[in-house]
Each structure stands twice: as structure tokens, then as C-alpha cells.
Amino acid sequence: MKALYDFSYLTNAIHQWLSSFLSPNGVMITEMILVGLAFMLFFAVLGLVLVYAERKVSAFFQQRLGPMRVGKWGTAQTIADVIKLLMKEPIINKEADRFLFNLAPYIIMMAAFMAMAALPFARGLQALDFDIGILYVAAVSSLGVIGILLAGWSSNNKYSLIGAMRAGAQIISYELSVALSLLTIVVLTGSLQLSVIVESQADGWWLFKGHIPAMIAFLIFLIASTAETNRGPFDLAEAESELTAGFHTEYSGLKFAFFFLAEFANMFIVSAIGATVFLGGWMPLHIGNWEGFNAIMDYIPPIFWFFGKVSFMIFLMMWFRWTFPRLRIDQLLTLEWKYLLPINLVNILVMAFIGLVGWHF
């Protein structure tokens, strides 16, 4: 049964089929191109789906319908939007640093793409399975802030500059909390490899196995990752009622769309990491000794489990955004440095103690 859901069979089959008529180098190149194409497609679909989801979720919270005209229930709305954005004139203001201005979307997308590479979607469906997976994702995803800083600075616009400065202070601060809350779980798993972390949750998710410290870590992760992706209530870098559009005020057309896309991709990435580390990744939900229940759960393919959990996390983040007012910059930094960071440090110690004594399940 389990073999049915194991994607490594599929990938091996493709590998063997390619090897039958190509040289080893040719196989490698072909596979790379296939993976690249697959991820580009995934990225595009992800953007379309998430933008649509955001608009529908916000409509749901605001007691309205959301997009309804283009396609059934407005499903084709985002495609129409993409076409519109493609046909928009790219405007660069004359005071801007043109090279850096054009470079910024590349950097921000590159960070999102490279972080996406390490996500374990299902058993055997993971492009790059590093043994330092978490460190890698934390490192790469924080590259995005360089893109934001570049965008804000190169625009030569005061709103953009303030937005970029805010984003800088915010993202690097919350970077710490994201890393530390993930490390709380790493203490128990003893590995940074994402696939190993998922496998270690076969008999229960770390959120439940790790007692209260794991739950605290999960909450901190939720807050910090929302802040790290620059989403409301932490969208100070954009803050449309204060800075018009913050760091991307001067961007138009498709370049603007790439910032947007990267924001949604980042949201997906942090949700996926959260789901992987705390909620068992693609592992189905198992409850103790309920054999029947566990067996039924096993029938649901892992890929659904993974996307289900990610969707749940994304929904949470959208819920935050459409409910809370925005924080102020000093409150934002106070929250991180005076609350989340000390709590996090103590939390890791408690978790280490639990791991030492063996109190976790």
C-alpha cells in the first residue's frame, strides 16, 4: 500500500527509462531540465492559486463574494490579472539606480526558488535532500531581504526607502525567532535533514510529542514566520496607509508582480517548513492505538496530507492579515527582542531538558 504513494518509484522509473538511451551526463542534464521545468510550472500555478485563495479568503472574512466574473466563481481572475500585468508598461523613474532597480526582482525570486528546492512534498518527492536542510532553508529564504532593500534603495523614493529600512530591521530580527523555534524541535530529532525530520514523526507529530515547549515553539514560529514574510499584521514594509506601497512604490507591471509572487511563494515556503517540522510533513495523522483510524488515515496519499497542512497554515496567515491592525515599527521590534527571543531561549533549554530526561514520546 505504502509503495503506491512513494514517489521515489516514479522518479526511479524515469531515471531508468532515461538511462536506457542516454549517456549518464545526458541523463543528468535532462533530469535537471525536467526538474527545473516542473518547478517553474509549480511556481506559476502556486502564484495563481494563492492569489485567488487570498482574494476569496479575504472576501469571506469581509462578508462579500470576491472575484466572480472571470470564469466559474472567478477562478480565471488571476490569469486575467497576469495578462493585464504582462501588458502594463514598465516604468522606471528617472532618478532611480536602473541596474539595481532591475536586479531586485531577480534576487527576491531567486531566494524563493532556491528555498523551494528543499521542501519535502511527499515521500521521494523532494528535489534536494540536504543533511543541513533547515539551515539551508533559513539561510536562503533570508536572502530575499536583500532584494527588498535593493528595491527600496534603488527607487530613490522616500517612501520606498523607509519601507526598505523597516523591512530590513524586521526581517533580520524575526529571522532569529524562526531559526530558534525550529531548533527547539531539532533538539529532539537530532537531525537537520528535512526528510529525516518527517520520518521521525511517523508515530506522532512533534507538535504533540514535544509537550508544551513544542506548542510554544509552534506559536512563536507562526508569529515570526508571518513577520518574516512581510505579511499583515507585520506588513510594515508596505504599509499602504502610511507609505503608499512601501518598498515597491515605484515598481509597475510585471516587476511588481514578481514581488507579489515572491511574497506568496515565501508564504508557501514558511508554511511548508512549519508543516514539515511541527505537523509531520506528509505523514498522516495517527492517534495512539486506534488501528482502524490510523489505517484509514494511511489511505490518504501523503501529498494531500502535505498540501492540506500547508493550506491550513496559509489560511491561518491569511486570517491574521485580514483581522489584525498593523503594528508600529517600535512595537514590532519590542515584540521580537523583548518577548519572543527570551521566551525562545528559555524554551530551547526546557526542550533540551525534556530531550535529556527522555520525557517526550
Partner: protein
Amino acid sequence: MDEVIAQALESQEYFINMGPQHPSTHGVLRLVLSLDGEIIRKVEPHIGYIHRSIEKMCEHDSYQQIVHLTDRMDYLSCHINNEAVCLAVEMGLQVEVPERVKVIRTIIGELTRLSSHQLWWGVMGMDLGAITTFLYGFRDREMITDIFEETCGARLTMNYNVPGGLMFDIHPNFQKRTKEFVTHFRKKLPEYDDLLSNNVIFRERTIGIGKLSKEDAISYGVTGPTGRASGFSCDVRKHHPYSAYDKVQFNEILRTEGDCFARYQCRIAEMWESLSIIEQLIDNIPEGPFKAPTKAVIKLPKGEWYQKVETARGEFGVYIISEGQKSPYRLKFRSPGFSNLSALDHMARGAKIADLVAIMSTIDLVIPDIDR
């Protein structure tokens, strides 16, 4: 040496134009901010982008025409503005309007105040980044504008008052629908608290921000909920009752903190008071004519009159100087927003950009009201 370093670390003071095309200036207001990093050193309002010189226009218009010009000032309290001009003209003519008119004017005035506060509440949340409130505010406001549409034919600039009374009688459905609205809104108003007032981020963003002491409020002439939040008892409805306000029981909402949150609470509490005023009057609209007889061409005798009313933003005054002609010799509108705006610089100095947005939002500026 320390001073040299401190000076070198100080950022250069720089200027940002906030407005005229800015999401949170609520119209074409332009603020020139001098900033030090995120901290505001000075706010300089530049107004007049939609100045139409209504006062000059009034010098050529008949009194009936003047009434509808006031719609275009504070368009969210248009009915109350109309009422002010009508009351001033009636005072000049020494016409006693029928009781029915007084009661209807009061009810619609309170409905106007409610709809204005609902819109303010929605926008306030939006300014602080909670976009959802806007839709909630508009959901309830819709019911009021529907009532207006039925009775006055217009949803926003109603122009329902004429000197001497009302343009026509209320719609037969008016009482029923108003009562429906009051019961509906009594249930929905606690939702406002759930969504915004009790939110911890919202409280952090507003408590202690943009303080205005009572003395400053009086000195700057800050009226309305903005002034009352500082403890300045300035409710015209209490101090100089007009229309039917002397017949109803209501409280003047006063707070002493003078910060953004106090101003917020003032308006929320005022909504409850408005509901209670409407409830007291809606079943007791006296029968009778809806208009006192007036001449087609109104000529006020030589003299001058000042009439103040309480709009949703504060004290609105009409000062008419007549030389006995069909148009006033001089007509001055004392608009609440104008005086309230003058205190903005005082409130915002030393605050951050985000605070300025909160302060502006709680002053509740309507730009046409300021520019006239």
C-alpha cells in the same frame, strides 16, 4: 566628543509630502512632514486643493440655494449642515417651525451622525491596517443610506431641509425601517468592539498616542468627539439645544485622556447615544405640517445671526450678515474640521509616521469641510 558622534549619527532631517494623493489623508489634504528617521519633527498642513470659495458663492445665492451648497462641505454630515443654515435663516425671519419638523430633523440628524461614525470606524480600522473593518462599517451604513434614499431621494447629499421646514414629508416606511435599523445596529455595534476596540494591537497603537490636553483643545478650538475626548465639554446639543434636542435624554460623552483611544471610545459611545435619541423620538413624531409657510424669495432683515450645531465632527457654525437683500452680505461657515486640523501639528510632534495616521484618523477629517 560624544556630541560630535551624536551629531554624526543623527540622520539628516528630510521632508516628505504626505498627500495630496495618499491613501490615509482621506481626500486631497497635503501634509509636509519633516522627519528624522521615522519620527515626526513637524507637520505642516497645506490645504485648499478643493477650495471652491463657497462663502463667495453664497454672497450671490438665495438662501434656499445656500442650503444645498452646505451638502458639499462636510458631505458626511450634510443633513446637519443644512439644518444649521436653515436654523440661522429661521432665526433671522423669526419663523417658528412646526414640532414635526423639529423631530424629523433631529432623527435624520442622528442617523447622519451614525452613518458618519460608521464610515469613520471603517476607515479608522483601515488606516491602522485592518481592512476588514471598512466592509463591516459599510454593511451597516448601507441601511441608513437606504432609509435616506427612500425619504429624501438621495443617499449622500440629501438636501432635505429648506428654510422653514423640510422639502417634503417623510416616506411612510420611514419609521418602520428606522426602527428595524436601530434593532439591527444595537446587535451589530458590539461586533465593532470585538473586531477592533478589544484588539490588543489596536489598543497598543492608540492608547497614549496623540495626546491633547483640555486647555490645548479649547485653545485650538478643537470640538466634537475630538475635543470631548480631551474633556472639553463642547456638545452644542447640550449647551445650545436646537431642534428637538431639548426634549430628549442623552449623555454628553466626555473623556479625560485625550489620546487616540479616548477619541475612538467617544465616537463609539456617541453611536449608542444616537441610537437612544432615535429610539426616544421615532414613535413620537407629532402630526402636523412639514413646513412653515415662507415666502418664495426670502429676504432677511438687516442684522447678523450666528447659529451653531453639532455635526459628526464638531461644532459647525453659520454666521450670516444680512443687509436686507435676498442674498447675505457676508456668510461665514465655521467648520469643525478646520479648527481640528490646526491642532494636528501639536498632537503629532514627536510621534512616528504610523502614529500620525492614527491621529489623523481619530480627528476624522473631511477635506471639503476644511477647504470649503
